[in-house]
Symmetry: C2
Subunit: 97 residues, 2 copies
C-alpha cells in the first residue's frame, strides 16, 4: 500500500471552500482505500490530509482523472502553502475499505 | 470527529513485532472509524499511525479497554521514542467505516 500524510494551509478564510473541493469525489477514486480531510484545531487555515492507496500507481493515476484534475485546478488558488508531510507504506489497520 | 497523526520509533529491529501488536484488535475498538499503521520508507525503525475516532471520548475510552491496556504494556518496551504528530478534527473523507 501507499500512504500520504500532508498539511496544507488555505488562503485566509478559504479553508471551508478548500475542504469542500477536497471532499468532492473522494468515494470515486479507484484504488483509494482511505482519504481523510481534517482541520488543524490550532490553525484556522490549516488542513491535514491522510491517504491510503492500494498502490502508488493508483494514486498517480487518480491525478489524471478529469474530475480530480478539475478539482485541483479549483483548489490551487485557495492554497497558501504546504507544510510538513510524509510518504508511508501502510501495512494494515481499520477503515481500509 | 477526533483525529490523531503520530510517528514512533521502534527499538532497533523491533518494528515488525511492534506493528503486529499495534494491529491486534484494531477492528474491535468502539468509535474507531479509521486506524492505519504504516512503515516510514526512509527509516527502518519508524512507524506512522493515523487514527480517526467518532469522538475524543471514544478514543480515551479505548485506552481503558483491557485488550488495549495489555497491548500498550507489551508495546512500550519495543518503542524507542515518539516523533512528530498532530491532533486533528476530521471533517470527512473515504474509508471512515
Amino acid at each position: 500500500m501507499h500512504g500520504l500524510i500532508g498539511k496544507m494551509t488555505a488562503a485566509a478564510g478559504k479553508r471551508d471552500e478548500l475542504v469542500a473541493i477536497l471532499l468532492e469525489g473522494v468515494h470515486e477514486m479507484p484504488g483509494c482505500l482511505s482519504y481523510v480531510v481534517a482541520h488543524d484545531p490550532k490553525d484556522a487555515d490549516a488542513v491535514w490530509i491522510t491517504e491510503v492507496w492500494d498502490s502508488e500507481a493508483s494514486h498517480k493515476a487518480s491525478l489524471q482523472l478529469p474530475a480530480v484534475r478539475a478539482a485541483i485546478a479549483r483548489a490551487m488558488p485557495l492554497i497558501a502553502g504546504f507544510g510538513e508531510g510524509a510518504t508511508t507504506v501502510p501495512v494494515g489497520g481499520h477503515g481500509l475499505g
